[in-house]
Symmetry: C2
């Protein structure tokens, strides 16, 4: 069979998920997989750079021959067994593709743990039970005046036309006993028959670049009803947000990236509603946080200007969108509140972080870090806050690390190196180790540095005659777990390249901290609290974080790890308008510093490429073992 453009139509089956699709030939397996949501890893977004989209094809005659890129990445044996890179392989005929579990994006809609906090409810949503006067010849007020006369803040209340249209029949069918829902004391967003004031919910949404989490909140009590998360479906288009900016240059793709995120949020919403039995019409507001690129795409705004100098976003004030424009399946006249972005790379998620850390309400100096591919750093208190964004890369999430992985079952999360080079480690789920998550890499670099195995210049020493240190090709590596201990029966190692990756990441973050401290003329001792958060999912060891020179040499006791602060901040903004007011007041006090534009940037960064720093006097607590 051929289609109109003369291309042969072929049948492609994806296993083990068992989805098949009929498509014109001539497309890559990666592209077709996207269409059926048979999603697979791909840090590079299908450009043949990361080598992660490895699949097995059943009939090799049905696809294009192997490319140079594939012959670099795959062994001859692998190629012989039918292994291919999905992005390099063009479909020519009917085909079955097998996606291995470690390449497949894995299960969706997983329940998520999160930090929680009791907040006194004072939401933007107010739901009122009203007893309305029935019209008669002695009282000729209009339906709407009858309704608004019962509401205390009734001057000039807004009202969508489709809701206005329904009100007369709701009033009459409910025998003039209704519940009205007000948003921000300025808009009526629902009128329901009877007293339904006990049913009043909001949705907190955190669009991380790799994970989306939603939380259903009872706005009467401030209680979290249910939390669900899923991978961000945009990951298919690149792990890095900058890659998604590039993809979204095409208007149609921008719409597509927006649509898939909205769809995912709707699926998660469905899950929380199903679990709690709450009616979607009783969810009146969603507070949606995400970095600037994420929330621009969410609103359908081009993130283009964020990615290019001078890195300015379209909008840095809160935006209240209509459900008619952003189709999150809450009440159809509800509001979708996106808090203010602070700067191009400091988004609404950072605003939520600040709300959650309490920095807006304290006189003490707080240093706050949200660690991710971009790490946002804040320094200040309720009077003044300086902030910057550091290009720290995804190393803490396990990416670009030879045996790196996310903080899931089988990941080594903590490592301790004993005097006799004995390596002690803990794995998540207590299972045989599969790889290293970010916190383990930090522990390893700190531990090896402390034992003099990695030197001041970040080199793994080859001259020590230690069994665990060996050379792969030109570069040395340290064996963390021997093959007999591991799940894959292969050694798990930390390579010189991995050390370099983590040093680049920590140098970026330290530079940010250091420049902010300079700008505020703050010494290590003046910092009273360090708050660390991030979506990378594991808690870094405070002492080791200082030991590698990632953050200033403060008392480790003042460091606290807080998990997903952005989601907590979203919840706080949902449950109490007080925090929106607080954010509005504090917004002018936040000063964003574009690091690459700072005169000290280069020297600070170069200094930070050492362990812990080229200037050891900055880290008096770190005893130097190497020269």
């Amino acid at each position: 069979m051929t289609n109109r453009s003369g291309l042969k139509e072929v049948n492609v089956v994806f296993e083990p998920i068992g989805i098949s699709i009929r498509v014109p030939s001539g497309q890559s397996i990666y592209r077709v997989a996207m269409k059926v949501h048979a999603e697979m890893s791909g840090e590079c977004g299908g450009r043949g750079r990361c080598g992660k989209c490895q699949v097995t094809v059943e009939n090799r005659e049905a696809v294009s021959s192997t490319t140079g890129i594939e012959r670099e990445v795959l062994t001859d044996d692998e190629i012989a067994s039918g292994k291919r890179l999905a992005c390099q392989t063009v479909i020519q005929d009917d085909l079955t593709v097998y996606i291995p579990p470690d390449v497949s994006r894995g299960s969706r809609r997983i329940q998520v743990e999160s930090v929680d906090m009791v907040i006194t409810p004072n939401p933007a949503i107010r739901k009122l039970a009203l007893h309305i006067q029935r019209p008669d010849l002695s009282d000729l007020r209009s339906d709407i005046n009858r309704l608004t006369d019962e509401i205390d803040c009734a001057e000039n209340l807004e009202l969508d036309l489709d809701l206005l249209e329904k009100i007369p029949s709701v009033l009459r069918e409910s025998d003039w006993q209704v519940s009205a829902v007000l948003w921000d004391n300025k808009k009526i967003i629902a009128v329901e028959p009877g007293d339904t004031t006990s049913e009043c919910y909001g949705l907190a949404v955190d669009i991380g670049s790799s994970k989306i989490v939603v939380q259903l909140i009872d706005l009467n009590t401030g209680e979290t009803m249910a939390t669900y998360g899923a991978e961000n479906p945009q990951l298919m288009y690149g792990e890095d947000v900058v890659e998604r900016v590039v993809v979204s240059e095409e208007k149609e793709m921008l719409r597509h990236l927006q649509r898939i995120v909205i769809q995912e949020i709707n699926q998660l919403l469905e899950a929380v509603l199903e679990e709690t039995g709450v009616n979607q019409a009783h969810v009146y507001e969603a507070v949606v946080v995400g970095n600037s690129v994420m929330n621009h795409i969410f609103l359908g705004l081009s993130p283009r200007t964020i990615a290019f100098s001078p890195y300015t976003p379209v909008i840095t004030t809160p935006y209240n969108a209509r459900v008619a424009d952003i189709e999150i399946n809450i009440n159809r006249n509800g509001v979708i509140h996106v808090p203010a972005n602070i700067a191009g790379f400091v988004g609404a998620d950072a605003t939520a972080d600040l709300i959650a850390s309490g920095i807006f309400e304290t006189d003490e100096l707080i240093l706050q870090l949200d660690i991710g591919t971009n790490t946002e750093v804040f320094l200040g208190n309720r009077k003044e806050i300086v902030t910057c964004s550091c290009a720290s890369g995804p190393a803490f999430e396990g990416a670009h690390i030879t045996h790196g992985m996310k903080a899931v079952d089988g990941a080594i999360e903590r490592v301790k190196i004993g005097r006799d080079m004995a390596v002690q480690y803990d794995t998540i789920g207590d299972s045989a180790p599969i790889g290293l998550c970010g916190s383990a890499v930090v522990d390893l670099v700190a531990g090896l540095f402390r034992h003099g195995i990695i030197d001041h210049k970040c080199k793994i020493r080859r001259d020590l005659n230690i069994e665990r240190i060996r050379t792969d090709g030109n570069l040395p590596e340290f064996v963390v777990a021997w093959q007999n201990e591991t799940a894959a029966k292969k050694d798990i190692v930390l390579t010189q390249k991995d050390v370099n990756e983590i040093v680049l990441a920590k140098a970026a973050i330290f530079t940010g901290c250091s420049i902010l401290m300079k700008r505020m003329r703050v010494s290590n001792e003046q910092i009273k609290t360090v708050v660390m958060g991030g979506a990378f999912g594991c808690y870094l060891n405070p002492r080791n974080t200082i030991a590698i020179g990632m953050i200033p040499d403060v008392d480790p006791e003042i460091i606290s790890f807080r998990g997903n602060l952005a989601l907590l901040g979203a919840k706080m903004l949902l449950v109490s308008s007080r925090f929106r007011e607080l954010e509005r007041e504090c917004r002018p006090k936040i000063k964003y510093i574009e690091l690459t534009n700072d005169p000290d940037f280069k020297s600070e960064y170069t200094n930070a490429l050492f362990l812990p720093n080229r200037k050891p006097e900055r880290f008096p607590s770190v005893s130097l073992r190497s020269s």
Copy 2:
């Protein structure tokens, strides 16, 4: 050919307009005509009551046989010649229907004269030319902050998402020189490249129950650029608004009635834009007035509650609709402002009347009447206004009068009866007379009463032996024009039934005036100005209006006729926000009185069924000739 439901499909051609349509058989000609917009008269909305939808069919075998109703209305000769009532005639086979010009709704999009007035512009729309700072590394503000920082009232400006989305590229493509349009100092509704501040327009719209008029206004100067009008296409569904309320009970029909009015407004808008060369994107606001039923339907709100006791409207505050919801083809982020309704039968058009008459700004007592099928009466000044609505019927528009017609070419508009029973008349367009418009009927009743030909009890006297008085069947009639003078070569008469119609109408209006005066304890002498307006299109003779007892016996010199005040009021609301503010302030001072609920209603009305009144002492200026 038969369709799926087994009905034969037939071809119907409408002449002379030359439209043909293929439809299932079994429908009335009237119904099918509606579908192709071959619109025809029909006061009763196709119910066989008014007898006006007379058409000629070519092949009589193709339609159902004549009904009893038709045999009553049509002569045998007419039936023999193929004449039928379109609403009574069911189509059975292919057919050609001829619609005579007097039945066809006539030409559309006629230019309209209107009262005009110079207003100092201070519109809700503000258009500002802005020179915006280009972003660089020393100025990292977001695009929106860059824009709003140049606007004086920038705190929390609203912005539709689709406009927000376009702003970054407009800023860059225009090299950061743009014009921004603000609505009510609270919403940005347009951002255009370059300085386009000279192009700033608004649309005033008056949806009368029989006629729609639009006016394009230059908001920089307050000047009227062009005015166009057309018949209200809803007329097909009944001349009376109550009939349209009945039709709109079906939700789909409500939508349909809304849609055809919006379509008509868009056609008129196109006409004014074509005439002036103005770009529709430069029209930023429309102010739309109409009676409550008209504006409820316009907004898609069911007018049901207006038509049934206690006659309450859905809304009595101004409503600002989005173009996305009400698709008038002005700028797509523009605003459609519908001023406040006052009560069920006192709509936004009445609010506009009050704005235009100046009653909100004077200490003098004004009696104000907007004459139509429902006549709204107001009495008061800037401190207090009472109002009511009188069911005066369509007699002043020529309906229900034997030779009644609208004030168009060929209508007798003024009549004077001499001592020798000589009748002097003026026709519109100075052509041979076709019929009588409302003002002529008032002149005739007043003149005949003055000459004692009609008595105090409204009877045409048969005992006078005057050639012009004759009897048709049981009832007397007065010949206004002899057949040799008229266009149709038939006598034009005023019948006893016509006199009764006009007396019912004037009695309703006088009762309204009288009850308002009682409520405010006002005597004839205290009224300083009488303002009369209305869409019936002709000016009543002040002296005769008093002579028949339609309005109180005031000095005729204080009566002024003003034509379409509602349209003028709409324009004033468009050109200056001051009038919106004034309306908002005065709204609580207006008291609506439901006449049928007033204890004096019955006696007042019964008294008014005499000429000029059962209590002649109320009309000292009218000398009584009959007993």
